[in-house]
Symmetry: C2
Subunit: 801 residues, 2 copies
């Protein structure tokens, strides 16, 4: 892990700006400038639709949940190995608009580009690009582009393309394209996976181009899904006025439009007479949908209607409501840091991207890379629940709920999966998936990661306890908690040789360098809490809604014997413990493994161990890829003394390689808790700008959503010491010496608090909602009504315990 | 495991006879009547070349070591996963001879078959078939067939086809074929493996049919190998004489021959005038070879020359020398059992098949299924070293040596493999292979089985100590022992948490239901003995050949530090131990796993767990597929007290499912050692006729060579209690109450002993060679010269210790 990288982009509070066009940075910037609303995702590619090779660029357009399958090939198959892959499918590109100045096509790689600037405007949720291009023949145009993916209409993406003829009069053309000739590039981004989908996977069913717009409909070869997309256009003239400018319809006599369809493409070709200094503007409205949302037969009408209505509403109006949504998001979620503009920018970049990434329809989750690339096949992992979910629970509980809905809606599939793994009751969630079925092809680092079950249960319980949403407990959470608990009660057994403690064998914890182990500390801890929370959920439900509780018990066939057995497991869970060091090893075998000697490994081979070393070699080393036991100790810090946390932190600090983007943020949080503030700050700086400065050199493949969210946790749970794991809200704020102050908001039990930590102390304001009680530095406070404030001058973090 | 099955074939001492033609038994009988000389293998298919579907029959012809490759597909590849498969390739069939009676083709499924008999003659190494066939039109012929695969010429197979016209005169035709249109059927026999080779894999380069014979040459699509085969024929008349009969050349005017080649085939069509009661005889000489033995350009000449010379020598002469070899084999290897003819037959069947299976050229090993089928892709496993090798070491040390040569000759490949697994020195043998490279596609049950290294070292050391072959120690064995030892010294480490004992993590022992475990008892034990034997080998070599010893040390760059470190490991090897039960569990985690409840598993799912249960489910159960720790305790029984052996036997007896054919023979041997004679006898009966009576219902796919050899061990090491692990030869004979006596021979230090155990005691005769010392029932004896005999009346086995 590098300690520091020079910022790639200028430091700005709300923007990320590329100040110069350089094709070498293209691949990475496609992710930086990617836009998404949790349903549509589009990479930050250019309207010119450059044909970059697979190592330099990836045109990417996705619909969350829309995947293609292949038969998975195994040298040797075993029962329960998934047989069908799922890959987020790269869909037809509708963004392309080629600009011609008479016979010359705009290509930034030719001619001259000046006054270039491309920016992600995080406050508004838009990407703009401006530049002056002088063609090889000397024609100059000023180009101004803007695009957004609407947060208020999930099917909509819109863009505006303005051209001003600077030194010529003549004909310009906008050739607006819809290109269905696309393939996934997965093989290039992950050489380990032989997974497909290979080649072009959408079979066109309809291609239209005409006054109603461009339209495409196609179905996948194997997953049986159908998608449709389309575009309409509005052409107008920009009339400069003293108070700004005005758009008017383009004079009909000054342009013609020609439509054309090919085997995979549909084009609208606008040929426009333009005079020197005139500005012409093309607005393009783009719609995507699929039969995951409606009957296949309705796709065509849906797209065309939506295109018509959005065109009627117009770009400015659509853009305004989109921007309102984004403003509202920041109102709840913004974190300010006074004293470090670079970190401030990194934090907002991270929050913006996770906000973009989350599915919001209850049918889709959130990919580890959001909808910004093909990385990890677009799969949803535990990253969502353990890294991202807390951020949403505290700042945007509606989004959190929708993501939880997705898990609830796939509970039956998880029940089926539990049977495949030999569990007669309960549900086992898949390690990686899109459609709810297990898609991990390599079970030691996939299905064996049973902790996914406890992670999902943890997220449900955190949502219920932080929001106080009893309706959700009744409708969804209690059932998920009980069904996941059942698998924990079946997977292990009370082992005589371990003092009749409950042991769980043959699992893989979060740490992927130690696979198929016995008694992974994190797993056993989280399993126990899963069982405990299931019992608590039943108690809570019984108290609030006894009839619903009874109904659930009957539905699940839960018996008293079963819950007594759960309690017995809770009371007797086994944890690996090293007497000499008085630490909790990663698992039973960890202390026996070979001491890791980093110096024996060539530097270029260190980061990607599985590409350079056999798994058995990796498994035999006493080292850890990422936060594992440490994560469990942070989440359940109330169960450990500070001394314990220190000993364990020191131990894991030595043996952890941080080869995962999920690691440093968690170490930073625990470092705060035990007063290792300098280390905490170092970890934090690494997390906060990890993607913006591309620490892992793979941002091209998509965002690291978990780490992005981990940054928020590092501030709120780390520096501000927020916890609810003891059953109440508590904060223990610390102000890093490098900062003058920081603020953030949290939603708690339906109310919104603003927390401001400054050199003179901590101030907590009840911004909205009913009375809230909490502990600040171990003192209990009560804010009774909106506007109430508590201020405490103590800012150095006190001990937790 | 079933306790008993009705014999499939009549009980006979030296033959296995099928007395009735029934196509339902065809698939299994193809293995029963398979012939091989360790180089060529041919399944017991019919000369009529019936076109059975893949579920009812498999024409199979193999050359040991001749394989085809495919690119192995992995859902997710990791570094070090083999990328090329190896599959023993099914080669062109040259056995087919179709018989026509005028226009009617012999087909036993039509017309009437009487006086049918097909027999494997184990004493001679031939298969014969006789029957009378009456065609649908009423023509009757007597058919007499014999075939053998020559032990005295590895490239040669020969057959004799006699037909007597019983009730007609007319024209008969022998259409003798060479058919290159063949494919492997692997997918059918093992549904778990997606491995290829798929489709026809040999590309014909030459097809000839003429007076010189039939000839085929073809190369594989991917492995780059080329093979050639051919056949010549001798037609003759059988003239009945008072003293027997005589063959004379067939009168030229009475027959014509037509040759024909097709895209994949070459035929010789003999059209013969025959009179009623006349007998005509076709001898067919078949040759196989490949460019593994010679330059590709020499194949054609080699085959044609060999065909000419064998034809010149004639069937009777070739057959006689072949039979001599087989007689000699029995002279050294036969085991007689007086009192149970069924077991006697089973034992000989087993010995005969393993004798057939072993490669004898130092370039090839011995497949787990010999050369009798495509099962396990024809791969060589540890079965050879741990089950078969001891039999050859004691009865046919020349064969043993050739098999060891194969391992020695692939030592460099094993060195390369060790580097792939991260070991900077030493050699790691592949879990399954043909060409010496690792071919296991599923490392938890493949590459993780590091014990293969110690198994191979064990076999080298056993060979050296039993034969006293110091030349071989110098030339090969010492090097292999040191190079395998080096991997053991690198794979583990001294773990503070285990009292600084040497721990070996992340391996799989012999037991395939417990994978990727820490401190597998068998592995740690065998690793320690591997290290110990390496040091002993160096000592021995130093004593006998100090210069050679020095040379080896220099070649390997062995340092004093290294051997000191080996000794430290030997002195401090860690073994899992359960204090309460005072047993050695299978591995560190074994006692924590869930108690196995067989009753919860549907009977039809029990035997093939991996086809019906996810590996993680299997790994979590406290049960064992097969002998594992128990095997180690048998091999090194000198290191354990009888009480220890009893406790461990009792423990493993409870938890072992015997789902592997490698299990019961080993349990039987240990049962003998601790005086559990009845259990030993039950295990023995299950082993002895396991294949002959098809206990596993998969004999169609090929022999279970390991169990076949295990039968011999069960008698010699089990009932007779033979051991050499204490550094000398000792016997502790026991006579099962069901028997009147048994005898066997062993070679020891170059001399041959005959051991005869009867009700009145044990008699040991020095049949051949120099003086031999040994212990019989703990009394030391010395036989000074050939013919010397010792007789001891004690027959109930005494304690070992």
């Amino acid at each position: 892990m590098e300690q520091y990288r020079e910022p790639i982009y200028p430091i700005e509070p709300w923007d990320v700006t590329e100040t110069e066009y350089n094709p070498q940075n293209n691949y990475r910037n496609e992710t930086t400038f990617a836009l998404s609303n949790g349903y549509i995702g589009t990479r930050g590619t250019y309207e010119e639709a450059y044909d970059f090779p697979a190592t330099e660029g990836l045109e990417g357009n996705f619909i969350n949940g829309f995947y293609e399958s292949e038969d998975i090939r195994y040298g040797e198959w075993n029962f329960g190995f998934p047989e069908k892959s799922q890959s987020l499918l790269n869909l037809p590109d509708v963004k392309a608009v080629r600009l011609y100045l008479d016979d010359e096509m705009l290509d930034m790689r030719e001619g001259a580009v000046t006054e270039y600037s491309r920016a992600l405007h995080m406050k508004e949720g838009t990407v703009t690009r401006e530049f002056v291009w002088t063609s090889p023949k000397g024609r100059s145009v000023k180009v101004e582009l803007e695009r957004f993916v609407s947060f208020t209409d999930k099917n909509l993406m819109a863009m505006r393309y303005r051209v001003t003829a600077l030194n010529f009069s003549g004909t310009i053309r906008f050739v607006s394209e819809l290109n269905g000739n696309v393939e996934n590039h997965t093989r290039v981004t992950n050489p380990l996976v032989d997974y497909g989908p290979f080649g072009r996977r959408l079979v066109p069913e309809a291609l239209e181009a005409g006054d109603d717009g461009l339209f495409y409909q196609g179905h996948t070869l194997k997953s049986g899904l159908t998608m449709a997309c389309g575009a309409t256009h509005t052409l107008s003239q920009v009339v400069p006025l003293p108070e700004g400018h005005k758009l008017t319809g383009y004079p009909a006599e000054n342009y013609s439009v020609f439509f054309k369809t090919g085997e995979y493409t549909a084009d609208a070709d606008y040929q426009i007479k333009i005079a020197e200094q005139e500005t012409v503007c093309l607005e393009k409205f783009i719609v995507y949908t699929s039969d995951l949302d409606m009957a296949k037969d309705d796709l065509h009408e849906f797209v065309l209607c939506k295109l018509k209505s959005t065109q009627n509403e117009g770009y400015d109006s659509l853009s305004a409501s989109h921007k309102n949504y984004v403003h509202d998001f920041w109102k709840n979620a913004d974190v300010t840091v006074d004293g470090d503009d670079a970190l401030q920018q990194g934090i907002r970049f991270n929050l913006f991207h996770i906000m973009q990434a989350a599915g919001r329809d209850g049918k889709t989750g959130m990919g580890a890379k959001g909808l910004t690339g093909e990385g990890y096949e677009g799969h949803y992992f535990w990253d969502t629940e353990m890294y991202v979910m807390p951020v949403f629970i505290y700042t945007a509980p509606d989004i959190a709920k929708k993501l939880l809905d997705y898990r609830f809606n796939t509970l039956d599939i998880a029940r089926d999966r539990a049977r495949v793994l030999g569990h007669q009751t309960g549900a086992l969630y898949p390690w990686r998936t899109i459609n709810g079925e297990e898609a991990s092809t390599y079970f030691p680092l996939g299905t064996a990661q049973y902790h996914i079950n406890a992670d999902i249960a943890y997220a449900f319980w955190l949502y219920v306890t932080v929001t106080g949403d009893m309706e959700y407990l009744k409708d969804c959470a209690a059932e998920v908690l009980c069904e996941t608990a059942r698998v924990w009660a079946d997977v292990g057994s009370f082992a005589e040789c371990k003092g009749n403690r409950y042991c769980i064998c043959a699992v893989t914890g979060p740490d992927e360098y130690n696979a198929i182990v016995d008694n992974n500390f994190y797993t056993n801890l989280m399993a126990r809490e899963n069982l405990r929370n299931a019992l608590e959920a039943l108690e809570l439900l019984k108290k609030h809604e006894p009839a619903a509780c009874q109904q659930l018990i009957e539905k699940l066939g839960l018996t008293g014997d079963e819950t007594v057995y759960w309690q017995r497991i809770i009371d007797n869970m086994y944890f690996p413990y090293d007497e000499k060091r008085q630490v909790y090893p990663l698992d039973d075998g960890f202390m026996m493994r070979k001491p890791w000697d980093d110096s024996k490994i060539a530097p270029e081979k260190r980061h990607l161990l599985y590409e350079n070393f056999h798994p058995l070699f990796v498994y035999r080393q006493r080292m850890s890829k990422q936060a594992d036991a440490i994560l469990g100790m942070y989440l359940h810090s109330n169960l450990f003394t500070e001394e314990e946390l220190k000993r364990n932190y020191d131990f894991y600090q030595e043996v952890t390689l941080h080869h995962s983007s999920l690691s440093t943020c968690i170490f930073g949080i625990l470092a705060c808790e035990i007063g290792y503030y300098e280390e905490a700050y170092t970890y934090f700086t690494q997390s906060a700008r990890m993607d913006l400065d591309d620490y892992h050199n793979n941002f091209y493949a998509g965002i690291h959503a978990a780490n992005m969210a981990g940054t928020w946790q590092a501030i709120v749970n780390g520096f501000a010491g927020l916890r609810t794991n003891a059953g109440y809200l508590e904060l223990h704020p610390y102000l890093p010496s490098q900062w003058k102050g920081y603020t953030f908001k949290i939603n708690y039990q339906g109310s919104r608090l603003e927390v401001s930590v400054k050199e003179d102390g901590t101030q907590i304001t009840l911004e909205q909602g009913n009375a809230v009680s909490f502990k600040l530095n171990n003192t209990e406070y009560h804010l009774a009504k909106e506007g109430d404030i508590v201020h405490e001058s103590k800012t150095i973090q006190s001990n937790f315990l």
